[in-house]
Symmetry: none
Subunit: 127 residues, 4 copies
Amino acid sequence: MKDSFKHSSPIYIQLADRIKRRILRREMKPGEKLPSVREMAVECGVNPNTVQRTYSELERMGIVETRRGQGTFITEDADRLEELRKELRQRQIESFVQSMEEMGFGPREILSGLEAYLKEAEGREKQ
Amino acid sequence: MKDSFKHSSPIYIQLADRIKRRILRREMKPGEKLPSVREMAVECGVNPNTVQRTYSELERMGIVETRRGQGTFITEDADRLEELRKELRQRQIESFVQSMEEMGFGPREILSGLEAYLKEAEGREKQ
Amino acid sequence: MKDSFKHSSPIYIQLADRIKRRILRREMKPGEKLPSVREMAVECGVNPNTVQRTYSELERMGIVETRRGQGTFITEDADRLEELRKELRQRQIESFVQSMEEMGFGPREILSGLEAYLKEAEGREKQ
Amino acid sequence: MKDSFKHSSPIYIQLADRIKRRILRREMKPGEKLPSVREMAVECGVNPNTVQRTYSELERMGIVETRRGQGTFITEDADRLEELRKELRQRQIESFVQSMEEMGFGPREILSGLEAYLKEAEGREKQ
DNA sequence: GTGGTCTAGACCACA
DNA sequence: GTGGTCTAGACCACC
């Protein structure tokens, strides 16, 4: 129990995560243009350099392409996006299961709890 | 999409969470004495005031009891612990499902992904 | 012939290349500590942020590891270094052959020219 | 390791290099007329003065001749062109070998790597 | 002391 | 107008 405590991830990563999620959720579509670095900077109340870093990160991950003098665009490579989707899903699941196991839950309890929750949520939605 | 970049939760909360988890997985048992505030402070490299707040928080939640002059003890109220267990499980599940939905996954994909993962993990363990 | 003209690569890349070469040449050995960001910055007459970026780039390539509060160290993963060596050799060769072909030389001329040069260089060295 | 980060060579030199290469691979033939300074300027999106300097440079090297009122022509002196070919080849080889040695490769590795690459390229072409 | 992040403001090439 | 690089100077957490 002498490990250190968690920090919030840097802004440029948090921002990248948000954008990633919006893309994966198809809220922003392949080929679409992102706001310019400066626009996004004022929109988020952040320095343009920070946004720049975010966009670079997204490009490094193959989510986004930049065209000089034109802007930053969501990749049209649907395969890459699908691949990314799976990666993220996997990572989420792993960390979820780990948390549950840290609290002493076994596989059965995890599954049954989740099923119950989803059923209930479904019911609520139908109302 | 203004301000609103996340900060990490305060250390005393993080510490409370850790202790909660250790109790729930029976690593620390009902009735057992917690380390003194000072001991815990040293152990975690943290200010004693922080530990004090953590213990208060745990007491407020009915997880521990402090006995003047004797120390802080894990409650023997098994019902309370079971209740807590359920609460935490529920909260974990909620935040997991929310994350998955933010990435555009529906209930079916969430469940099937989790099942696949648990099966695979089980297989690995048996080896 | 309407393509654009070449630019020099950014400083942080040039610096990364230099360090890469020094490592591959075993002038700096696996596990060795690099100069601190600030030291390297004054040494190269460059802003610390630029060096930071260089080090990040090197880390991303798996050439270097950073240990918080301690410094930046050359990876001890010899396989990674060897892999990198091969990659770079391949890239050099490709661009060399392409240049030669752009000047109208065929494979035979390329090889014979290189052999002649190396023989001559060897002779010079023996003197 | 002071100052000394590389700048790109001036545009007029880059342009001269391109033209040289086109001549050497017989894409432009001895005696042929080059585009006028103005034409070339438009074609390359460059200032006419830059093209002028390029042509002067080429003339200085004995690759082209300018005839007042007629234009600029590629020399018909085949010996000069052959000489140039050898010079350029030599320079390419030198810089290639230097790069490889900077990465710690010895003559044998250079040669074997190149042979392997050329063989493979040959194979690909035959397909 | 170390690396890592962020801001402010500048300049550049591309289109 | 766009993205990309660089500088200057600040603050933070880790050791």
